[in-house]
Structures are given as C-alpha cells and as structure tokens.
Point group: none
DNA sequence: TCCATTCGTCACGAAACCGTCAACGAACGA
DNA sequence: TCGTTCGTTGACGGTTTCGTGACGAATGGA
C-alpha cells in the first residue's frame, strides 16, 4: 500500500500467496481507493480462488502455468480496457458544435460538411474527443495505436494533419491542444 | 453483425470456431465500431489463439474447460470494468479551497482561474500537495525529478517560480512553506 | 551583535520541445 | 503493372522551459 501511494501505478499484477497479508486483502484495500487494474497471478488453478478474486474487483486471474506471452497479452488487454473510454461510449453522435463525429459511420463533419480522415487520424480524434478535457499522454497514444513502440514525433505529425482538417484555424488550434512535454488534450464541450 | 446492430448489446461471448466467419474476424469488425466487451470462449487452450484474441481487442479468453461459475465471474468482471467510469488511480480533484488541482486534465486553478504550469512546476506541486503537512526533503525531490543528481538550488528556483504562479502573495507563501535546511512542506487542508 | 549558512529573485545561455515541410517506402486499388 | 494514398522518418526554425551563476535578504547560532 505504501508503494502504491508513493508512485503512479498503472496496473497491478498481484500474487495471492504472500508472506504476511494475502493478495485478496490487498486487492480489497486498493479497490477501496482506486480503480487501477488488478490482475491476480497465482499458482493455484482453483475455482473458488478465481471466483473470489474476480468477485472482489480483480480484472483477471492468471494461473502461473500460463506462458509469459499470454501474461503479457492479458496485461496489455487490461491496460487497453482501463485506458479506453467507458463502454457507454457508443453514442450515436459526438457533438461539439461545429465539429461532429458519427462513430457508426466513421463520419466527421465540420460546419456540416463531411471531412475525410485517414484511419489513423480518425482513431486519434476519436480517442481524444471521447475524453474531453483529459490529458492523453504520448505514452498512452503510442500504447494504443503503435503497440508501445513508436516515436512522439510520429504522433505530432498526425496531430498536425488532423488539425489541418478539422480546425477552423489550424495555426491556432481550438480543439486539439498540446500539453507541453506530456501529450494532448481535446478541448470542447459535448452537447 | 446484423444482430449486434439490431439490439443494445452489453457484452459479447464469442466462440472462435463458427461456421462461415471465424470469431477473430467478427471481433475485428465489431471493434471497428464499438468498445463493447468481447470475451472469447473457445475449446482450444492454445497460446497463439489467446494472444491473437487478446491482441485484436478481446477482453478475455476463456477455455471451455472452465467451470460455469468461472465464466460467470469473468463476465461480471468484464461488465464491471466496462461500466466503470473512466477513472484511474488518481483522485478526481485535489481541493484546497482557493487552489484546485485536476490530475486528469493536469489543470491547476487559483480562485477558479486556470493557471498554466510547466511540467516541472506541475510535478513539484503534485508531489507536495499529495502529502499535505508532510515535509518533503531536498533529497526526496531530487531523487524523484532529477534522478538523484542535482542541486538544491535548482529546486529553490522551481519553487520560486511555482509560488509566483499559485500564491496569492508570493512574498508571503501560504501553500508551499520552506523548512529551514531540510526541504518544503505543503500547507493546506484538503476538502 | 556578528557571522556563516540558507533562501529568494533575477538574468542569461543551453537544451528540449513543438509544428511544419519534404521525402521515402509500404499498402492498396484499379 | 501502375498510380495513388497513407504512415513514418528526417531536417529545420521558432518557442518554451530548464539549470546555473550572482547577489541581497533572511535565518539561526555563537
């Protein structure tokens, strides 16, 4: 718990059997204050354990016989889900006034006129505008679209091109704002 | 896909081997338009399958040997996660009256007005105000932000710049107090 | 009271970061 | 096969931020 509070934890891979406190208790303590993804990792392939672990707020239960690459895949899936917008984000229309996005048809309109976006541009916009006001770090963007390996610079170029298409005045961005040294933030109130 | 679009689906339990289209393809099609939780359910306990399924956007991969109650537990966990607010480990708002900090948007407000901080300034403030009343030594600060190598003087300058921005009267600091010869302490009661 | 140390402020050069343009290769459809 | 579109990387200029030195004010002890 001390280490959890001390640093910025993105995900917890938690053994159940530990000297002193057991994993279930720790999970409960953390769940009381945080929604951070918790994945149980245990030697026991035991139904009761699995149900208990998943029941008290765990996101997954991995038995130690699993291959390392399966563990990695499950960790990635948990991170993706935790970073993704909540599921109710399948709204018919994301409306920001002059800018409108129809997720179903992947159609983006500026002042009513449809604007063609490339796949990357669309995904970028979608991720940003689904969480208005929230900072999305380069790290998150790279994890989401470039499997963690990639360059900030690549992100910048795509942002530039996206702005070129959706911003009334690309030189003075009104929607996609940069956060110095960290990432980007979508500014705009949904209606 | 027709049935998916026709009704309001909360979660998908997807077999991989199906006549006609395979589960992976269907998963990809759905992921293109929706973030709905998808759990693979397959007879094959196959690493490649698992990694592929989780890689293309699946939330879990359950082998059919799993007990019914484990399946139920995993479905519940997926629903819980999908319906949870997008919140993360960080608290929603650090409120100290006139001074407010929103970790999600990295936004700092003084008397309601947003104040732009540089990365260093923000991280400094964040670290300090997460432990109100507690003294943070120069050593701790240097370890955290300057990898141990650095000068106390550097810290001082950053503190000064931070005060300039967030203190109503920078000459008489009300939030960031100096502890002679040791470090700094954030004074302010969280609400 | 006096002194040594620490602290706060200012100014300045170096470094990091951002946005833009251009070029290259891969993927795609005709 | 060919032409086009898309994604990535490199280079460059402008801007912001960072760390250091200098100096006076403040602090605590003798």
């Amino acid at each position: 718990m001390a280490r959890f509070h001390a640093s910025d934890v993105h995900l917890i891979l938690l053994d159940i059997m530990m000297p002193g406190q057991d994993g279930f208790e720790l999970c409960r303590s953390i769940r009381a204050v945080s929604g951070v993804p918790i994945l149980f990792l245990s030697a026991r392939d035991d139904d009761m354990h699995k149900i208990r672990g998943l029941g008290i707020g765990g996101d997954d239960y991995i038995v130690k016989t699993a291959s390392p690459s399966e563990i990695v895949a499950r960790v990635k899936a948990a991170l993706r889900r935790a970073e993704a917008p909540p599921m109710h984000a399948a709204p018919r229309l994301l409306d920001f006034g002059r800018l409108q996005i129809e997720p179903a048809s992947r159609d983006v309109k500026v002042d009513g006129a449809s604007v063609p976006l490339t796949p990357r541009e669309y995904e970028l916009l979608r991720l940003l505008c689904e969480r208005p006001g929230q900072v999305i770090t380069y790290e998150q963007l790279l994890r989401q679209f470039w499997e963690g390996i990639g360059d900030k610079h690549t992100v910048r170029v795509h942002i530039a091109r996206l702005r070129e298409k959706i911003e009334p005045d690309p030189a003075r961005p009104g929607y996609v704002a940069n956060v110095w040294g960290v990432g980007y933030r979508f500014e705009g109130k949904p209606r």
